[in-house]
Symmetry: C2
Subunit: 196 residues, 2 copies
């Protein structure tokens, strides 16, 4: 009874979005066609434009429209410090803190053997080259404090240290504003061990 | 520090999808640009095609690419019975049951004063016209058994009955395969009152 191949195709294509299954894809398609055709056209154009224009910064691998991203191009940033983060969202979080004035290397992922993501997929070789430019003095590993982020930090740290670079990791401890009663035990144990 | 207007535009456009907030829109945009540019292009094309090709069936209002949907065009369907449903998904559920062989009228919504959706928005006038074609003998109100679906059924039922049409509602009762212990009290009360 289907005579709506373009609707079926849209429901199918929406499922390429992470976290969107058949039911929510159908709901999205109905919503756009029934209530927001302008939004559908806007999204279509935005997808095409982003795919055409967005590339990766030649120096730090983050998304950018030019050859080099604004952070890498900014001469006022401290070129001796390089923070390694997993994603542009993590980079944005560090930027918001206002506490880091160096440059970045964005892995665009993390090592995850179960998903078949190895060192080559996160640009480990490019990071080694970037960190060995003779200007970088300290590499700050700011990958997430998840199992995969920790494994990534460990592996990259080993390789960077073997090249004679100073490697640090973001400190683990009790988050600002939190009450000890509600902090998980692993975090308290780390904060105790790293007390000063 | 943003030099990625096309990325910002994509994140913004993705938020037109129902249930997608700023964080998931960002995650979707990163995923498409990093891992699935082919999916992004596919989705862009599917959106444009669907908006261009999908219209509403002249008779039953469901989504269709032609002027009349396959169900309305099928001469083997019982033209004397008309089921009124809220959405194409509800229509599909009735079709899957295999128990209905009549035709449909798809409201493409339900009356919801709080959302500013009134009788005109769900094509009540078109339904009256459709049901008064001299062929339809029975209108089966198959809107959902939610507060809004019930209100919609009540309002449409009154109007249809005043035109001398036979109006029925899907039976309420204990769902097939369920154990009484786990059925909600309202459903049990309805099933008791409608016992036969």
């Amino acid at each position: 009874m289907r005579a709506a191949p373009s609707l079926d195709a849209l429901v199918h294509a929406l499922q390429r979005l992470p976290g969107v299954g058949p039911r929510s894809a159908q709901r999205m398609a109905y919503h756009l066609l029934q209530h927001d055709r302008e939004g559908a056209q806007l999204l279509s154009a935005a997808l095409t434009a982003a795919v055409q224009r967005m590339g990766h910064c030649r120096l730090c691998h983050t998304f950018t429209e030019g050859e080099i991203c604004p952070v890498c191009a900014d001469p006022t940033r401290d070129a001796t410090r390089l923070a390694v983060v997993e994603t542009p969202a993590d980079q944005a979080a560090l930027e918001r803190s206002g506490a880091f004035h160096g440059r970045y290397f964005v892995l665009m992922g993390r090592i995850s053997p179960l998903d078949g993501i190895g060192a080559a997929d996160i640009g480990a070789a490019e990071l080694m080259q970037r960190a060995s430019d003779g200007v970088v003095r300290e590499v700050i590993l700011a990958t997430n404090f998840t199992a995969e982020g920790e494994a990534t930090a460990h592996l990259l740290g080993e390789a960077l240290r073997s090249r004679g670079l100073a490697v640090t990791r973001l400190a683990r401890g009790v988050p600002a504003g939190s009450e000890l009663e509600y902090v998980d035990l692993g975090t308290i144990a780390h904060a105790l061990a790293a007390r000063r």
